[in-house]
C-alpha cells in the first residue's frame, strides 16, 4: 500500500474513552474517522466514500449497533466495506446475530492490542485483495467487452439471464433433465501471461472458447466468458459430455503446447428441484467453491459441489466460539512428523503440525478447523503460537545438551497479510536465543501464486535473516522451471498424495511421470527435494531410483507428540545433522544412457531380448507389435500369420491362467511389473520355454495394453516343468500348471 493511500477506518462507539483506546491502537497505521452513534456513522459514510473498514460497537444509545448495521445494509453503504463488531458481550446469540447481519468479524473486550491490530490488518488485507480483484475484473471486463476471445460466448448479464430462463423451464417442467453449471478457471493463468506473454494467453482463451462453442453447438449448452480466464457452461447433466468437454479442452491446449498445469480447474454445480429460489449467480458461486477444491489437485481437475461441505455460517460461528475457548484452554498443540533420509533411514529434522486436542471431542483434524480459521485471521494466532512453541522447544532441547535438528513450521498467506512475518521470526529466535537454522519455514506454492510480490519479498527477507525456506506442495498446480527461477527457496517439497501415487491406481504412470519431471526440474535448479506423503514400500523403491533421497510420510514415521519425537532423535546414530542436499548423479539414468550413446538395434536386442507389445481384451491376448528377434525366436516367417498374432494359439493351455494372473499383477505393480515363465508352442509343435517380464502400459475401456521382454530359457529347463509366476521383488511363486 503506497504512502498517500493510508487506509481509513470508521470507529463507531458512543464512549469517547473507547474510541480513544482504539485510536491509540490503530492511529499510527490508519487514518481514523470517529462517529459517536449510528446516525452519525451513516452520515460519515454518505459523505466519505473511501472508508475501508468499520469498527462498530453494539451497545449505543438511540440506535444500537445491530440497528445501525441493518440500516447500513439497506442503504447499500457497506456492500464493499467490511464491518467488525466490537462488544463486551460474548454470548453466542449476540455473536451469531452479528454475523447474520453481515459483520465479518467480532472482537470482544477487553482489547488486546495485538488481537485488534491483527484482525484489522487481516480483514483489510483480505478485502484489499478482493477489491483489487473486483476492480481488475471490472476494468478488464469493460476493456474487453469487445474482446471476448471467440464470438458466441456470452458476457455475465446475458449468460445469467439465459441461465435463469433455462432454470425456470427446468423447475416448471418435470420432464426436463437437470442442468449443471460448470465454472472454469486456473489461478496460474496470470503466471502464464506473465511468463509466456499476451499472445500465448490469448491463444489459450481462444482455444478454450472454441471448445465451449462445440458443446454449444452439439449439446445446446449455454456458454459464457466472465473475464480473465473465467469461463462458464450450463448444460444438461450428462457425464459423458462433461468428461468429453474436459478432455477436449485438455487435448486442445496440449496441441498448442500449453502445459498441463495451466489447464483449467473445473467446479461443477448440479441444479436440483429444491433450488427454485437460487439465482444463477449463487449457483456460479457454489461452482467456484467446488473449483477451489480441485485447483490444487493435479490429477483430478474437477470437483462437484457438495452441499454438505458448503459454508455453513451457523456452524462456523459455533466452531469459532469453540476455537476461542480451545485457544484459551491451551487445547492446541504441535506434533512433529520426522523427515528422513530414505537410504540411511536417519532422521534429518521434522515438520511441526498443529493438532487440536479437544477436551470434549478428542482429537480434531486440521481439515475441520483450519478453513474456519483461515476465514477470519484467527489462523495467525494459532500459527504464531505454534511457531513460538517450536522455538521454545528447540531452546529446551539445546539446554539438555542434545544435538539439534531443524523443525519446519508453516506460514500461510493470511499470516503474511496479517503480520510482518520475517520480523516476527527474527524476534522469536532472538527472544529464545536459538539459531535461525533450527526453524525452517514452509510456504505453499498456492500462497506464492496468490500472494505474488508480497510472498517473494517475505521469502527474500526470511533468507536474509538466515532461515531456510521450503516451497511446500510444489507441483500441486503448475510446475515449471520458471516458477523455480522466480522464487528463491532452499528446498522443494512434493506431496506424493497430490499425484495419487498409490499402487494399483490407473493414473499411476502419469503421476510417476509428473513426479519425475518435477524431481528433474529441481535437480536442474540444484534444489534438494523432500517428498511427503510417502506411504508405501513401492513408493520408496521408485523414489530412490528416481534420485529422491528425503521423505516424510507414515511409511517411515507418522506425526507424533513431542515426547515421542525426542525419544526418536536422542540417539546420535539415528539422526543426521546434514541438511537436505541435492542428490549427486552417481549412476546413469537409462534415458541418458540412450541419448548420450548411440546404440544400434542389435545392441538393444542384446540388452532387452525380444520386445513385444500386446493387447488383452476379453480373455484374448493379441500381439500388436514385436521386434525382429522375437519373430526369429518363435520361428515365424510371416508376420501376418494369425497363429503368431493370437496368443491363445501358441501358449500352452496349462500356462494360460498363470499368464492372466501375471498380467493382473503387472497392473497392480505398475512400476515393477511382473515376471512369468511359460511354454510357447511353435507351429511345428516344438515347445520353447519362455521367461517374460511384463509391464502394464495403459487401459482403455475394457482393453488393456502391455509390453514385455521375452527370453528363451530352454537351457534352464531340461523337462517341461510348467509355468512359474514371479512377483516383482523376485520371489519365485510357482504355479505348477500340469495336473
Amino acid at each position: 500500500m503506497g504512502e498517500d493511500t493510508t487506509q481509513k477506518i470508521l470507529i463507531v462507539d458512543d464512549s469517547p474513552m473507547n474510541r480513544m483506546i482504539l485510536i491509540e491502537m490503530l492511529g499510527e497505521d490508519y487514518s481514523i474517522i470517529e462517529a459517536e452513534d449510528g446516525l452519525s456513522a451513516i452520515e460519515k459514510l454518505q459523505e466519505n466514500s473511501k472508508i475501508d473498514l468499520i469498527l462498530l460497537d453494539i451497545m449505543m444509545p438511540k440506535m444500537d449497533g445491530f440497528e445501525t448495521l441493518e440500516r447500513l445494509n439497506q442503504l447499500h453503504l457497506i456492500d464493499h466495506i467490511p464491518v467488525i463488531m466490537i462488544s463486551a458481550e460474548n454470548s453466542p446469540e449476540i455473536i451469531e446475530k452479528a454475523y447474520t447481519l453481515g459483520a465479518i468479524d467480532y472482537i470482544t473486550r477487553p482489547f488486546d492490542v495485538r488481537v485488534v491490530r491483527l484482525r484489522v490488518n487481516a480483514t483489510l488485507a483480505l478485502f484489499e485483495n478482493q477489491k483489487q480483484l473486483l476492480t481488475r475484473l471490472q476494468a478488464k471486463d469493460r476493456l474487453e467487452k469487445r474482446k471476448i476471445p471467440v464470438k458466441g460466448l456470452m458476457v455475465e448479464d446475458e449468460f445469467y439471464e439465459n441461465a435463469d430462463q433455462r432454470l425456470r423451464h427446468y423447475f416448471e417442467d418435470n420432464s426436463i433433465a437437470s442442468p449443471v453449471l460448470i465454472a472454469m478457471h486456473n489461478d496460474y493463468f496470470k503466471l502464464l501471461s506473465e511468463w509466456s506473454g499476451a499472445s500465448v494467453s490469448d491463444q489459450y482463451l481462444e482455444t478454450v472458447g472454441n471448445c465451449l462453442l462445440k458443446v454449444k453447438e452439439t449439446k445446446n449448452a449455454l456458454v459464457g466468458y466472465f473475464g480473465l480466464d473465467n469461463f462458464v457452461v450450463m448444460m444438461e447433466e450428462d457425464w459423458d459430455s462433461i468428461h468429453g468437454l474436459i478432455r477436449d479442452i485438455k487435448e486442445s491446449l496440449e496441441a498448442i503446447r500449453i502445459e498441463l498445469g495451466f489447464t483449467p480447474a473445473y467446479g461443477i454445480y448440479r441444479a436440483i428441484r429444491e433450488d427454485v429460489d437460487l439465482a444463477p449467480v449463487a449457483m456460479y458461486d457454489r461452482a467456484l467453491l467446488a473449483l477451489e477444491k480441485s485447483m490444487n489437485n493435479y490429477m483430478t481437475r474437477y470437483a462437484v459441489y457438495d452441499p454438505r461441505e458448503s459454508v455453513n455460517i451457523e456452524q462456523d460461528i459455533k466452531m469459532l466460539n469453540r476455537l476461542e475457548y480451545a485457544f484459551k484452554n491451551k487445547e492446541f498443540h504441535f506434533y512433529i512428523q520426522p523427515k528422513c533420509d530414505m537410504i540411511s533411514g536417519k532422521i534429518i529434522g521434522g515438520e511441526a503440525l498443529v493438532r487440536w486436542n479437544s477436551k470434549n471431542d478428542g482429537l480434531i483434524y486440521p481439515g475441520v478447523f483450519i478453513p474456519v480459521l483461515e476465514k477470519n485471521g484467527f489462523i495467525t494466532r494459532i500459527d504464531t503460537y505454534v511457531w513460538e512453541e517450536v522455538c521454545k522447544w528447540q531452546r529446551r532441547w539445546m539446554d539438555k545438551g542434545r544435538i539439534s535438528l531443524p523443525v519446519s513450521v508453516n506460514v500461510s498467506l493470511t499470516d503474511v497479510y496479517a503480520i510482518n512475518v520475517p520480523e516476527y521470526f527474527k524476534e522469536l529466535i532472538e527472544k529464545h536465543n536459538i539459531p535461525a537454522n533450527l526453524v525452517d519455514i514452509e510456504i505453499s506454492e498456492s500462497a506464492y501464486v496468490k500472494g505474488g510480490n508480497l510472498i517473494r519479498e517475505t521469502i527474500n527477507r526470511l533468507k536474509e535473516y538466515g532461515f531456510r525456506v521450503f516451497l511446500d506442495n510444489f507441483g500441486s498446480g503448475y510446475s515449471s522451471l520458471n516458477l523455480l527461477r522466480d522464487i528463491n527457496v532452499d528446498v522443494i517439497k512434493i506431496d506424493a498424495r497430490s499425484l495419487d501415487l498409490k499402487a494399483g491406481n490407473s493414473e499411476d504412470r502419469r503421476g510417476i511421470g509428473i513426479l519425475e519431471t518435477m524431481v528433474n526440474l529441481a535437480k536442474q535448479m540444484s534444489l534438494p527435494v523432500v517428498v511427503q506423503g510417502v506411504e508405501e514400500a513401492e513408493q520408496v523403491r521408485y523414489l530412490t531410483q528416481m534420485g529422491c533421497r528425503y521423505a516424510q510420510g507414515f511409511y517411515f514415521f507418522r506425526s507424533m507428540v513431542v515426547d515421542e519425537y525426542e525419544e526418536k532423535i536422542k540417539v546420535e546414530e539415528d539422526i543426521d545433522t546434514k541438511r537436505e542436499q541435492v542428490v549427486e548423479k552417481d549412476s546413469y539414468r537409462i534415458q541418458e544412457f540412450f541419448t548420450d550413446h548411440i546404440y544400434n538395434d542389435l545392441m538393444l536386442n542384446h540388452l532387452f531380448g525380444s520386445v513385444v507389445e500386446m493387447e488383452l481384451y476379453q480373455d484374448e491376448l493379441k500381439i500388436l507389435k514385436a521386434s525382429d528377434t522375437y519373430y526369429l525366436m518363435v520361428g515365424c516367417n510371416d508376420r501376418n500369420d494369425p497363429y503368431y498374432r493370437v496368443s491363445r494359439k501358441h501358449i500352452h493351455p496349462a500356462d494360460w491362467q498363470p499368464i492372466l494372473q501375471s498380467f493382473k499383477k503387472a497392473f497392480e505393480q505398475r512400476y515393477n511389473g511382473s515376471v512369468i515363465d511359460f511354454r510357447f508352442i511353435k507351429k511345428d509343435g516344438d515347445i520353447i520355454n519362455f521367461h517374460a517380464k511384463i509391464f502394464a502400459s495403459y487401459a482403455k475401456d475394457a482393453r488393456k495394453y502391455f509390453y514385455a521382454c521375452v527370453e528363451n530359457v530352454n537351457h534352464y529347463y531340461t523337462i517341461n516343468s510348467g509355468a512359474a509366476v514371479f512377483d516383482g521383488g523376485g520371489n519365485f511363486d510357482y504355479f505348477r500348471g500340469l495336473n
Partner: protein
C-alpha cells in the same frame, strides 16, 4: 504512587493490562483518560431519573472501560449492576449502587495519586 501501586490500590490487574496493551505507556495514557470518562455520570444520572435505559447504557459502557483497563475492583460491582439494569430490575440496581460508588471512588482516588506522582516526577 507508581502505576503498579495505583493498580494495587484499586484492586486492578496490572499485569493483564500491561500485557494486553503491550507495555506501560498505553496503560498509563488510558488510565488518565479515564478521569474524563462520562459513563459513570450517565449511570448516576439514569439512576436518579429512574431511567433504566440510560442507567444501563452508562453501566454497560463503564463495564467495558473497566475491562479494557483491567480495573477489576470496579469491574465486579459494575458488572452486577449492568446485569440488574439489563433485566430492568431497578430495585436490585439501587441496592448495588453503593458498591459501585465506593469502588469508583477508590479507583479515581488511586488514579489521582498516580497522576500527581507522574506530574511531579515528570
Amino acid at each position: 504512587m507508581t502505576l503498579e501501586e495505583c493498580y494495587a490500590a484499586c484492586n486492578g490487574d496490572y499485569l493483564s493490562a500491561r500485557s494486553r496493551l503491550m507495555g506501560e505507556a498505553l496503560v498509563s495514557r488510558f488510565l488518565l483518560m479515564f478521569l474524563d470518562d462520562t459513563s459513570y455520570r450517565t449511570l448516576l444520572e439514569g439512576m436518579e431519573k429512574k431511567d433504566v435505559d440510560m442507567a444501563f447504557l452508562g453501566a454497560h459502557t463503564l463495564k467495558g472501560v473497566c475491562q479494557n483497563l483491567s480495573l477489576r475492583g470496579l469491574y465486579e460491582p459494575t458488572y452486577q449492576i449492568t446485569e440488574a439494569l439489563r433485566s430492568k430490575d431497578m430495585e436490585s440496581a439501587k441496592l448495588l449502587l453503593p458498591d459501585v460508588q465506593s469502588a469508583y471512588e477508590d479507583t479515581i482516588g488511586a488514579i489521582q495519586s498516580y497522576k500527581k506522582y507522574i506530574e511531579v516526577d515528570g
